[in-house]
């Protein structure tokens, strides 16, 4: 069949075990079909056929022949069994396919808690209760004039958002002219009847490349009423930032089908669904109505831009500059975010293409506390958030130095043979005791089916300290669990008789190499910031590890493999989702919004990729350091 005739046909694709069906035009890949059907299949590489994540099994129907990329990934036997890559295979007939569980992006544990510090509540939102005199035959002022007259002395330069103007009159009458006027600075964003018991709240969101965390905060009390999260729905379009930027570049068409529109819609719809769930939960729990009158959204520069509808193409090409680095206030209705109709969304500033508003937010929640205290001392504080890109800041002598380092997706389980996200059955803790016995713990205490980031970090540190690995990362022969039967030497972490899928869970030399690259990049970043500030490891007073992954890791093991410098453990703090906490501060405090701009403006951004010491520091950091810790 020629390509042309493929394109003219439409095929029915049935996705099992989810049970979704979708009609697609010929020339749509199976990955594209799944995306259209709203089924999130993992695709680390963004659909170019190299990551091998989007494995599916053909049950019925005819597909285009396997590509070279697929031949690199599958064995002949796997082809016989129908295995294909969804991004490489195109239907030639109606198709019934099965998606193996590991190819789906759902079901992962989310990390949401964050240390909440006390801050003064002085939000940009002002709630003004007023009694408006009702119109009479002798008082014929318009509804809006009478509102304005009442508020003149309180908010002299009042501006009214259009949706309020359009909907206020019936509300006034229903409320018998007793209302609460909600102002964001001098913008009237909402009118709420006084007699209805209503919680007036704000929404704080941290859009991670992988996970999204959201909080609804009572703007009167500062209390977090509910927190929830979801996997970033854009994952189906590429797991890392660059893959998503590529998706946008490769789908440049105008209008609704453009890549940037599609990605923006995905995150918007995901957030709106989340808001709906959270709102229902609060209204049920407190038996009151909830009005979300303000929002703060943080994310890395790419997530920030995709959410706001700013161009991202330039972020994918050197010199990787943001389209917008300033703090922005955007009307929620322009972004399609379902909060109060006249409300707006505050997006804090970005520092650089790969140090975004989420890092500013994290610095607000962590460093600034220190900075106030330590304003006139020489104390040094390192704060970092580990992800596919790890952002690192160093505070020293009232200066903040920041950089971003490409640590890759290994700690998210990608590029690791038996790697997986932090989901049930993932080995998350490993210990090798003196007698050589291996102990591990899985998430949910389920039979093991793979290793997640904290587990792979543990096992490598433990192997190194148990002399199963040398300092270059090579597996040593003497341990009974080191197998050389395969193409590459590997360490058997869990035997096939104890796992959930009856296959051994192994750590290969290649996996170790991936972790060496990741931890080397992180350590090189830390060392270069220290170098720029003119201080040494011994000068570090506090070491703050933020973010989801950072909260779960064993910090001592991170030191053992050289990812972190060796420091007394009492100098280290794992603070959870500090970016989320910072977003809450910015909901609750005008002062913190000003600080955000101040921090972003003051940071000394250090570009690592062309830093003269990077290659040297990185190469040095690839190896495991001298064994020192007990």
């Amino acid at each position: 069949m020629t390509e042309n005739s493929q394109k003219q046909n439409r095929f029915l694709i049935e996705l099992q075990p989810i049970g979704r069906r979708i009609q697609v035009p010929g020339g749509t890949s199976l990955l594209g079909a799944a995306q259209l059907a709203g089924v999130d299949i993992t695709s680390v590489c963004g659909g170019i056929g190299i990551c091998g994540d989007c494995k599916i099994r053909l049950v019925q129907g005819e597909l285009t022949p396997p590509t070279l990329e697929e031949k690199d990934i599958f064995t002949e036997e796997q082809f016989q069994n129908g295995y294909r890559l969804a991004c490489q295979a195109y239907p030639l007939s109606d198709i019934l396919l099965e998606i193996p569980p590991e190819s789906l992006t759902s079901l992962q544990r989310l990390q949401l808690e964050s240390q909440q510090a006390e801050i003064a509540i002085e939000p940009p939102i002002q709630i003004i209760p007023i009694n408006i005199p009702a119109p009479t035959i002798t008082d014929l002022r318009s509804d809006f004039t009478r509102l304005q007259d009442e508020l003149k002395s309180i908010v002299p330069s009042m501006k009214v958002e259009y949706p309020v103007l359009a909907s206020a009159s019936p509300v006034f009458r229903k409320a018998k002219w007793n209302i609460q006027a909600i102002f964001n600075q001098d913008h009237l964003v909402s009118i709420i009847p006084t007699q209805n018991p209503t919680i007036i709240a704000g929404l704080a969101v941290d859009i991670g490349t992988t996970k999204v965390a959201a909080y609804i905060v009572d703007l009167n009390t500062g209390v977090t009423l509910v927190q929830d999260g979801l996997m970033n729905p854009q994952i189906a379009f590429g797991e890392d930032v660059i893959s998503r930027i590529s998706y946008v570049i490769n789908h440049p068409e105008n209008g609704e089908t453009s890549g940037s529109k599609v990605l923006q819609e995905r995150i918007r719809d995901g957030l709106n669904k989340l808001i709906q769930t959270m709102q229902a939960e609060i209204e049920q729990k407190f038996a009151k109505q909830l009005e979300i009158v303000d929002a703060v959204v943080v994310g890395n520069t790419a997530m920030h831009h995709l959410f706001a509808g700013f161009p991202v193409q330039q972020l994918g090409l050197s010199p990787y500059v943001p389209a917008v680095s300033e703090a922005s206030l955007i009307r929620a209705r322009e972004l399609g975010l379902n909060i109060t109709k006249g409300g707006s969304v505050y997006l804090p500033p970005n520092i650089a293409g790969y140090v975004g508003a989420d890092h500013v937010s994290m610095l607000l929640a962590t460093l600034y506390q220190y900075r106030k205290e330590l304003a006139y001392t020489n104390k040094a504080v390192v704060a970092l958030d580990i992800g596919t890109n790890t952002e690192i800041s160093l505070l020293h002598n009232r200066q903040i130095y920041s950089c971003s380092t490409a640590s890759g997706p290994a700690f998210e389980g990608a590029h690791i043979q038996d790697g997986m996200r932090a989901a049930p059955g993932a080995i998350e803790r490993v210990q090798i005791t003196k007698d050589g016995k291996i102990h591990y713990k899985t998430i949910g205490d389920q039979p093991a089916i793979g290793i997640c980031g904290s587990g792979i970090l543990d096992v490598i540190a433990e192997m190194y300290y148990a002399d199963i690995l040398d300092e270059k990362g090579a597996l040593l022969n003497h341990h009974p669990r080191v197998s050389r039967s395969g193409r590459f030497p590997e360490f058997i972490l869990a035997n096939e008789d104890e796992t959930g899928h009856h296959q051994a869970v192994v750590v290969t030399r290649r996996d170790i190499n991936e972790i060496q690259l990741a931890k080397g990049a992180i350590r090189a970043g830390i060392d270069i910031l220290l170098y720029e500030a003119g201080i040494e490891v011994g000068d570090i007073d506090e070491f703050i590890v933020a973010g989801a992954f950072g909260t779960y890791i064993n910090v001592k093991n991170a030191m053992r493999i050289g990812m972190f410098p060796i420091l007394p453990l009492d100098k280290c703090h794992q603070v959870g989702n500090a970016a989320g906490a910072g977003a809450k501060y910015m909901l609750l405090s005008k002062y913190y919004r000003e600080l955000a701009s101040k921090i972003a403006h003051e940071v000394n951004y250090i570009e690592l990729s062309n830093h003269p010491k990077f290659t040297e520091e990185f190469s040095k950091s690839l190896f495991f350091p001298i064994k020192y810790l007990p």
Binding site: I249, L317, R509, N513
Partner: protein
């Protein structure tokens, strides 16, 4: 005595001890051993072993980086000595290397450069974020056998195609071979854009380069 130096040099590369490589090179030069012999009998055999171990999966990128570092440290000492003697390493071929426009990833490209040098290629490394026109003008100037294009991002690999197109329109399409590499680059992509060679890693690049120059 020289044999002992050569064996030690080879060993220092295999074991990944760049400081030792540099020290032994220095001592060997001081002992009056010819720089060309140091390269041919000490360094190249060492790099070949590292390369083999890399191909079989025993060694990984860190090992390769550290061996390349040792090799480079030694060459810094040896090159001025070769110049003094008006000697040059016999060239397997001339290669121009660079990371394409928009991309500033250095390490992989530099490794390929080191491995090619260790195998007798004369390498001109144009660096990172190299404009398409620069590849063309340098190719015109240096008349290389091969141009190697590195790209580490899916957003920049498209510029490999741009260079190939530009070479063709400059009439050099059949005069110079192009090989491509980088994390997101695949065989399929290489074929699609009309590259003459693709390799997954630095060792593979050496093999392909040898094939392309027929050696």
């Amino acid at each position: 005595m020289s044999q002992e130096f050569f064996a030690k040099l080879t060993q220092s590369l295999i074991e990944g001890d760049p400081d030792a490589t540099s020290e032994i090179t220095q001592t060997a030069l001081a002992a009056g051993i010819e720089p060309m012999e140091i390269i041919k009998q000490g360094l190249i055999p060492g790099m070949n072993v590292v390369g083999e171990k890399f191909s079989t999966g025993e060694y990984f990128l860190p090992d390769l980086i550290i061996a390349a570092d040792g090799m480079q440290k030694a060459m810094v000492l040896l090159e001025p000595e070769l110049l003094k003697r008006h000697q040059a390493i016999e060239s397997t071929g001339i290669v121009i290397l660079g990371t394409v426009k928009g991309d500033i990833h250095e390490i992989g490209k530099s490794l390929v450069g080191t491995m090619l040098s260790a195998n007798g290629f004369k390498v001109f490394d144009l660096g990172v974020d190299v404009a398409t026109d620069t590849f063309v003008s340098k190719a015109r100037e240096l008349k290389p056998d091969i141009i190697g294009l590195s790209a580490l991002l899916t957003t920049t690999m498209v510029n490999q195609r741009e260079v190939i197109k530009a070479l063709a329109s400059a009439g050099m399409g059949d005069k110079v071979k192009v090989m491509v590499g980088g994390a997101p680059v695949t065989r399929g992509w290489a074929e699609e854009i009309g590259a003459d060679g693709y390799a997954e890693d630095a060792m593979g690049a050496v093999q392909i380069a040898r094939q392309l120059v027929g050696k």
